[in-house]
Symmetry: C2
């Protein structure tokens, strides 16, 4: 099927009108391939069968890839209106994200195949017209009107592959090879796998925003990871190699499985890989449209959970620490083997892009130097849950492509398969699935002494905490500077030689003040009463990255990434000790500070007087105490008899500052007149809370 | 007791050091009079008896007047600290504001009389020192450090009178005349009362802020009231005149009483005025420290409820419409009789300021031309519930002197009594008590065809409504202009010849936009779904005055007055029709508008599409529709299926403006790109909500 040539185009270089023709050809070839895929359904009823109880029938995907173009182009303002609103609703949302024990009880009234085919043709003509008429200027980057067109094409390429997996789960009698007839029929004598050493090095992951190939939003960024020495298996694990696990009762021995894996195994009652079909004593292999005698030299195709169980079993058998590679280790392997990216090859160096077979092939057929199948044949599961690289930004035209998978439950697959085309066949491709999902995916194992570096970096969705994150690290609104930056300016004015001084930050919240102070103070103890609020600060200290979700309009959300490095706050984070503690019952060891900040703390205390009466014990002579509060006393937190002010006493109004002054003036001198510090909490894109905290600065007598 | 000369000093004119001596003398005389009052308690146990179950015993008031000086001077920053914090708490708050059926179960551990006397002496020396040492600059106005000193003196004068009423309710055997021995012992043959006509005129009430005499905050302002012709009784009602009501079973006949009055009568089982004592067949009269045979020519002393019942009874008997005078009618009487103010007389023209008697005297003793006792003898109940004049401002040093009484339940008494001194004896004095309370107070009745003009002007305390009032009429915060003013600017730009045009203001809230528009449009219909919110607008339209309470810090509050006249919005209020209605079900008659404003309405509707689909029917061709919304959809108000945006549809984010555009563009043309309008709601002194409403302007096709 080499005629399809589904290599994703270079979007940076070339001449505009020629690029237009190239894109048009790419669109046509992709659309045609998609058409051809559905020609394998020889019986129309195959369109309406559920190949997988957790997925829509193929009729959905038949409409989905076309409808996607329309929805994105309407959203981008490039199409004036919907073409078929009913279809564009019905075919809009897949159900790929369900857990394996979800049940889908929805009833759909699917249209006929002809109706959908007509719709596809209408969409195709519309897109062709657009490609011909839209103004085209190179380079094509995120905001270029051609971006959503390439997005539609790449989306179609993805579904060509995922639909081929669904077809592989339909009854073969309803299917035919059609154009997908380049099935590899060789089956070499299975080879003995072996482990080959790869030297560790510092890896740079992620591609720059000006990269010349289309990328999904989660491919961009720059992430450095130190890869240590490891050994990797020369071949992907073959059906033959996996058989030993099956025959050793691997599917019946809980101890090889992760908790998630065993739970899945038990629910599914799996006995062997999904595409193995047991026929009396022998196994057969289910390919996309046919069943063939078991190809023992082909890579085994399993989900992550099975691959992981195999590694655990094999570790026990061999006494080696075996596991799947991480994403960085896979890239290290790519570098080691000097694998070329799709646009650079004349002919694919592996079983990929439909350039060689319409099926997998033996694991020892495509060599990349010492190793085989570094790319192509089947995808390779990794240990890495997917997450954006630091600084990740959502593409506004497809704002839920990536973020729903940043949950620690979706693992990356790398390398592509025989049917991976377009972006899928590029080295930067980053796809991930729930660990129980099936794709054309197998694995290579690695041996390493060290534990894999697993980052999850899920989004902080706790609304109050996320608001605090934005208050600390987000944008400025209404021209009001973020309050931790205002506080650090006060500290800079008040504290001489801070590099020799110790700071105590009480009510440190999500930590911005502590990070700012770490650039000037010798030591910072940052305390918050709430684990919820301090967690993002600790995340930032540990990984330099913080993610959170804020409210846009209605239910819509915005995803935010904070990279400590970008804020130039990453150099001295070891000077900070973040602790969860109650400011009213601080441990004895918090003593001898040269500066103490307690911002908006009083109103969070059950008895603020207790705190104010004790704080002097923790501050050195001549040390500075910076107190700020909105005095928003809430009876649920601070019983009225403990308020510092905001009530009448002897019939006269008492302001909170008077109550504070009564307590503090015995041990402190007021440095200057109290003043108001404005700060702002963003509740949504259209709603902000502005607070005026009164700040007073005290010097310990 | 003329030696006391308790005329309140001229605070505007004179030489500073001489004024200091004058104030010192005024302070000393007042303090001495207060001392002398307590000398009437010949037995110390009289200090601890409850003269009235709803009031503290006299020991409280003995401490209270001194403690008041200290508390106010500490609050004003003129005293560095409290003198006796225990006393200054215990003696701070009286219980004068209770309803007649409240019960006071508090236990107090009162100090000894000697302890309190010593405390009074300490306070007295402290104040004398202050008066001698404080810098004094004339004129003495609100912010002058001498103001709280005069305030303390006038407060003491008030309590000299109110304590004398309490003493009047103690057992006589515990009392002696002491210095209060100028009891009037004449008792003329009772005179026949008669009604004398007074011509109506426009009255100016209230005194200016630069007035030369001390005033309580509620005396200031400028209020015009049209007084119509009326007749007033020549004399105050005497005991003799009132006896006819008692003998006619007035206390047993519900029909003469207001509901409140009858309820009080029944609870108290009153049979005759409180200070009448029935002894077998005859009545005796209780004076301050003694009981004497009934003085039939003395004015009857009753509460408002009894006075009102008498008027109703007498109206029925005479066929005349009799009632009490209003405050304005009392001032009309003062003008008619050309009564001089306290500072202008050599000798008091009436039985007032202790210049003549230490008791009431016959109602025909002090003539003011046609009438008697226009001031002095006993206070005169009026029909007017007390309220501040428009533009009323709370004095910050005594923020609860006035506002707790602006509730429609406290009626003004005017004219002063034999023991009214200082400010009490001035014509601008405005004191008010609950209608069931006793003071040295009687009444004069008037005959008038018209109903009295009763303003209540109580403070809007509904927190949400008050926030809206401040948003509409209050201060600007954070440099953001009030949203109705921003909207009126848009209207001015969009509408040509507005003086010929009709405006519909939907979600008019507390009405500022409607009032602003009334200066330029021909006709305004202003609709709100909530009676709570539209009520202040209607108040403003009717009375030109709006009062509301906003939150300061904690429980503290700020009182705000809006005067339509001050905003220059009072000329065309008749062009506005305020209506309560549901924008989704507007009545048919709301049609043919040239401009419609719907600001922050959509988010308040159960189904905003229904509204948007219908609104074109109410707008003339080429008419303008101005729509603004924060899109803060709340499921409790707008079910999610009715949201206009802020959700995903076909998997794509839909902004509310898209939903609006889909509906409106069939009947309207968008005039310009939608833009954001910032507005701000003040939640408290330290907490503000800033919202960004998207505004779009549409022209009817």
């Amino acid at each position: 099927m080499k005629e399809f040539n589904l290599k994703t185009p270079n979007l940076a270089e070339g001449e505009a009108e020629q690029k237009r023709q190239e894109i048009l050809a790419y669109f046509n070839r992709t659309f045609d391939l998609d058409d051809k895929l559905y020609e394998t359904l020889k019986d129309e009823k195959a369109f309406y069968m559920r190949a997988d109880q957790l997925r829509h029938p193929l009729i959905f995907y038949y409409g989905h890839t076309s409808c996607f173009y329309v929805n994105k182009l309407v959203l981008a303002g490039l199409l004036p209106a919907h073409i078929n609103p009913v279809f564009e609703s019905m075919f809009a949302i897949g159900v790929d994200e369900m857990s394996w024990d979800d049940l889908n009880d929805k009833n759909y009234n699917w249209p006929s195949v002809d109706e959908v085919r007509n719709y596809r043709n209408t969409v195709k003509s519309t897109i062709i017209k657009l490609i011909k008429e839209l103004p085209l200027r190179l380079p094509i980057e995120w905001k270029n009107p051609f971006w959503p067109i390439i997005m539609g094409i790449e989306h179609q390429n993805i579904h060509i592959e995922t639909s081929s997996v669904l077809i592989r789960q339909l009854p073969v009698e309803l299917l035919q090879n059609a154009s997908f007839n380049a099935i590899c029929d060789s089956d070499e004598q299975p080879v003995q796998n072996e482990l080959i050493t790869i030297e560790g090095t510092e890896m740079q992951l992620g591609k720059p925003h000006h990269h010349h190939l289309y990328g999904w939003d989660l491919e961009y960024g720059n992430f450095e990871e130190q890869v240590q020495d490891f050994k990797a298996s020369k071949y992907l694990v073959s059906n033959a190699e996996f058989l030993a696990f099956v025959e050793d009762q691997g599917y019946h021995n809980e101890k090889w499985w992760t908790e998630e894996g065993w739970s899945w195994r038990t629910y599914k009652k799996a006995e062997h890989p999904l595409f193995w079909e047991k026929d009396a004593e022998s196994y057969q292999l289910r390919l996309m449209t046919s069943i063939v005698p078991m190809k023992w030299s082909f890579p085994v195709e399993i989900n992550y959970l099975e691959a992981k169980a195999f590694c655990n079993w094999k570790s026990a058998k061999t006494g080696k620490k075996l596991r799947l590679p991480t994403e960085a280790e896979w890239y290290r392997l790519v570098n080691h083997c000097q694998v070329q990216d799709a646009t650079e090859w004349e002919t694919a160096p592996g079983n990929i892009n439909l350039e060689h077979f319409t099926s997998p092939c033996p694991v020892n057929q495509f060599s990349f130097g010492d190793f085989f199948d570094v790319i192509g044949n089947v995808w390779q599961w990794t240990e890495s849950p997917i997450t954006g690289y630091p600084g990740f930004k959502v593409h506004p035209l497809y704002d839920d492509f990536s973020t729903p998978t940043f949950d620690g439950k979706h693992n990356l697959i790398k390398g592509g398969s025989w049917i991976s085309t377009g972006n899928e066949a590029t080295l930067h491709a980053r796809y991930a699935f729930r660990r129980h999902f099936y794709q054309h995916a197998g694995f290579r194992y690695v041996e390493a002494e060290h534990e894999p570096n697993i980052r999850i970096d899920s989004y902080e969705t706790d609304e109050e905490v996320a608001i605090s994150c934005e208050e600390n690290y987000g944008d400025d609104y209404l021209g009001i500077k973020k309050y931790p930056l205002q506080l650090v300016e006060i500290l800079e004015k008040q504290i001489k030689n801070p590099s020799e001084k110790k700071l105590l930050d009480l009510n440190c919240n999500t930590g911005r003040l502590a990070f700012e102070a770490s650039t000037i103070f010798k030591e910072i103890t940052a305390i918050d009463a709430s684990a919820r609020f301090i967690r993002p600060a600790i995340e930032l200290q540990k990984n330099g990255l913080l993610r959170y979700v804020i409210q846009d309009e209605g239910d819509l959300q915005l995803f935010k990434d904070v990279v400590l490095n970008d804020l130039k706050l990453n150099k001295n984070t070891n000077r900070i000790q973040f602790m969860q503690d109650d400011a009213m019952k601080l441990k004895e060891r918090y003593r001898n500070f040269d500066a103490v900040v307690a911002f908006n703390l009083l109103e969070e205390l059950q008895n603020p007087s207790v705190f104010l009466n004790e704080i002097h014990k923790r501050i050195n002579q001549d040390g500075i105490f910076i107190l700020g509060s909105t005095y928003q006393w809430k009876e649920a937190i601070t019983p009225k008899e403990n308020w510092l002010g905001g009530f009448k006493k002897y019939g006269e109004p008492v302001k909170s500052m008077e109550g504070i002054n009564d307590i503090l003036s015995t041990q402190f001198t007021l440095v200057s007149t109290p003043f108001d510090l404005k700060h702002i909490a963003r509740k949504s894109s259209r709603n902000f809370e502005v607070m005026h905290s009164e700040v007073s600065i005290w010097r310990k007598k």
